[in-house]
Symmetry: C2
Subunit: 547 residues, 2 copies
């Protein structure tokens, strides 16, 4: 028997409609890419989004067409998103930090028909313009004039694009399963893959993110959204803020400590969200200038694990609550949030800090489990570690155009419907998950797993060690055994035996590296993480003394 | 183009699965109908709910079957709900405060196959047993023994019903549009009508209710759920608490001030929810015993408008924040919540109090508008008042078995898909809605509306007046004109002219009553509201001097 409640599709146009009706005057403040502060509100963003929709329709953009954006966080960019959503076209956010060739590959793969580009990113477009196969026109945002822009074909300014398109558009009227957004994974191995969000998944994800133990935003909050809009829905804040009637502050391209602090103070920000590197800059700036945030209450940190120094600085020095979050593009992106339950709140301060360094608990609408190589679920005892797999209405089922398919129907999922995150984690009895490794970095010795990261974290504490990496090297009996690679502070400054003796007793006997190798410099990737792919290539033919 | 996110139906079994996995040891505490405190947790409620599902299946209960409950708020009752939900049967909550004949009528109309009944309500069942046409068996909750119970056919205790049914059941596996709950409106005019909630509508409603500006519950909250489970999903708390991992305290049948206060203190409650009458008892008890709640932070008040004295007592005397809520069975039930935005927080205290007496703002997922008799939308200026109409995924589309249909397809909606609440309201520019009247009580004079309640509220302030009511009486020229009916403090103690002079200048000239009638006693309904139906019957043939 079917329930008799109303058919009311969960489509994103309703989010901005709601904000414009209930919170029309709530501030939306941007720092434009030129630096000046531009003030608007949800009512005006809503009108602007309607003009975008009208102009898109007049340009021939239809339901399901992809529209690319290469832009910083600004109110203009927000209006573009909702203008695209409203007519059932797809917001395809492009990450300007990728290599131009990658950006060109992604645009062609997505089949973007239009591109909206911040004037500051025109050099990228100029470089790739000859390679673009599907782009019919380029609209320049934050343009200092009306062009022309040499080397950028079919370009016009946003003002010119919108001119005369003032008649409102009927938004919605498509099913909630309709695609809303497209975001490519970074593709560290192989080509980037497209994650295709739906209207339904984005709205459910935002509702889940704004529960009491999540962001918990209300109309009295002021949110500085530093996480870029080209990172997986800007962590849901582009939906949650209008849904909650929270004021939205958009920092444009200026993410240095001084600029961030200025916005925190002048706009009286209560919550902000970004990756750890942004907070390093801010905390350094606060220390140097002996200032402290006066209105900030909560900071969401995700993208990579929260370093203890950042956690302690916010909580101990400035009384700001840190919410450690974990997720991935394929999860819309939120997977877990580290907030404390009543039992954890009774722990002493240092135990609370240790707990907050974990990635946290899955909220309702995210299912999480850890499994061994055979897919058997492991204990939630905080010790067993295994592949982290997830399920939920805002988790990817398949990639765009069937890339990365694991089954004939294009599905990228395990047989039981879970998505394998590629991470290795523990889950404790209270549900707190902690990432311990990437699955591809785990060392598989005689059918058992050894965590490379755990050994590395201990080894860097040995005297004379600047950095340490552990990789698995082929072994005839055990399949793989750990090799510890050391970057010494000074060449020849550390002996193999010293390091091994330092590890003894701190890790299980069978985890002890079979050998230690020394390198001048351990290679790091673009985000500062150890480039293990390169290390594995360098040591591909390394012969362990035990082999 | 369709999004590529996972198909993960929003079904209620997942709510308790989540609580049992992530918050297994979080307390669920009941005061049993016998008075003693029974402690359990979400893990145990989950196991119990599985036993209920197994026993229901063995009894032949299938997807879509209605199962009635006539019970107070207890953990047993909660486990029943989830056991019924889990197999796609329908929880039909029965209000024991209705007349036995009404209850029998509702059970027959719903076609309940099983009834779960608190032992204390067996007299009701005994009285109606001969009239029940579809009930095959009765399961007695909180039974002091194993029966037999004279005059209650096919009865067994819950223990006997569950005995031997320990094998877990596979929950879910039906679409989210499946019916989950059935609740009848009180039917003050005509027969009660059944509202049929779906799994989807209940989950969306709970997610909306627990946003930052809603209940905002987290795992550190302890909730005393006083609002009965037989009132429209207990205001979503039966879903929100397990979803948030909040502790749930269930008061059974003891709703007097002393019992409520005891639970508030012993269980360290942070949020509670009930109708104003419950709060009157509690506040009187606190005053008499000179005690004050020590952990309570927020109280949700709904069911009828919050009296100013209750609001001020909680906020001014005890520092407890009041959230005035409005809704109806047909809305699952939440329609609006009165929380303050940043502009309202800057108002002086008395202005804030006046604002909090309004019913508040529609959260995301509830659309609201006011219209005139021709269905034209009225201004949101805080002055224009019109019929309040609503729309959303947790708002009724049609009643059970097509009752109350307004269109051939059984729909109970207006042509544009809105549901007419039967209330008359204003909405101010910031979105705050205030109920000013019931639509049937509004006086329609020459095509314009006169609010009966507004005149009454002023008239009771006149010297010598104990109570006042205003109804519309037929008029040859104006259709209807207002008649003011006065219950004087002392017979003959007030003159017609005195009252009219008192009203002059306080209301619009054309709102002035055409006549004043005196009665010994103004009739009140069961909930203390003026029984206007009866007054209209009494004055049906009243001839106004102006007619």
């Amino acid at each position: 028997m079917q329930g008799l409640m109303q058919d009311w599709p969960l489509t994103l146009d309703k989010v901005l409609d709601f904000a414009a009706l209930t919170h029309p005057n709530r501030a939306v403040v941007s720092r434009s890419p030129h630096g000046e502060i531009v003030r608007t509100d949800y009512g005006a963003v809503h009108s602007q989004a309607h003009r975008v929709s009208r102009a898109l329709i007049e340009s021939g953009i239809c339901l399901g067409d992809r529209v690319g954006t290469l832009a910083w966080n600004t109110a203009e960019h927000l209006a573009l998103w909702y203008g695209i959503y409203g007519i059932g076209a797809i917001v395809h956010t492009l990450n300007p930090r990728l290599l131009p060739d990658q950006i060109a590959w992604i645009i062609n793969h997505a089949g973007d028909r239009l591109l909206f580009v911040d004037a500051g990113f025109l050099p990228i477009v100029r470089a790739i313009a000859p390679k673009l196969k599907t782009v019919e026109a380029i609209v320049v945002l934050s343009a200092p004039g009306d062009g022309p822009w040499d080397g950028v074909p079919n370009a016009k300014s946003l003002d010119a694009f919108l001119a005369g398109h003032d008649a409102p558009v009927k938004w919605g009227s498509f099913p909630e399963s309709t695609a809303a957004g497209l975001c490519y994974t970074s593709g560290t191995t192989g080509n980037p893959k497209g994650v295709l969000y739906s209207h339904r998944s984005n709205i459910l994800h935002a509702l889940a993110a704004n529960q009491g133990d999540g962001f918990g935003l209300c109309a009295r909050d002021v949110v500085l959204m530093i996480v870029p809009m080209f990172h997986a829905n800007a962590w849901a804040l582009t939906s949650v803020c209008p849904m909650a009637g929270a004021s939205l502050i958009l920092p444009g391209s200026k993410l240095d400590g001084a600029s961030v602090f200025e916005l925190l103070e002048t706009e009286r920000v209560t919550l902000t969200a970004a990756v750890p590197t942004v907070w390093l800059s801010l905390l350094q700036y606060l220390k140097e200038t002996k200032q402290r945030p006066s209105t900030l209450q909560r900071v969401i940190i995700g993208g990579s694990a929260v370093p203890e120094a950042i956690l302690r600085a916010f909580e101990e020095d400035y009384g700001v609550r840190v919410i450690h979050a974990w997720g991935m593009t394929e999860m819309s992106p939120m997977g877990s949030l580290c907030t404390l339950g009543p039992e954890e709140e009774k722990l002493d301060h240092d135990s609370q800090i240790r707990l907050k360094l974990k990635q946290g608990r899955a909220p309702f609408l995210v299912e999480m489990k850890i499994v061994d190589d055979a897919g058997r679920e492991l204990l939630r005892d905080g010790k067993a570690f295994g592949r982290l797999q997830v399920r939920g209405p805002a988790v990817t089922r398949a990639y765009f155009r069937g890339d990365g398919a694991r089954r004939p129907d294009g599905s990228a999922l395990e047989e039981d419907g879970f998505f394998d995150t590629g991470d290795v984690a523990t889950i404790d009895p209270a549900g707190y998950m902690q990432i311990t490794d990437r699955a591809k970095d785990v060392i598989k010795s005689g059918g058992e797993w050894i965590s490379s990261i755990e050994i590395e974290n201990i080894a860097v504490g040995a005297a004379g060690v600047a950095n340490a990496a552990v990789i698995g090297v082929a072994h005839p009996k055990w399949d793989e055994r750990p090799l510890l690679i050391i970057e010494p502070l000074e060449p020849g400054g550390v002996a193999k035996e010293t390091v091994l003796r330092f590890l003894e007793g701190k890790i299980a006997k069978w985890w002890m590296p079979d050998d230690v190798a020394f390198v001048e410099k351990i290679p790091l990737g673009a985000t500062g993480k150890i480039n293990k792919l390169l290390l594995r290539q360098q040591f591909e033919h390394y012969r362990l003394p035990t082999a």
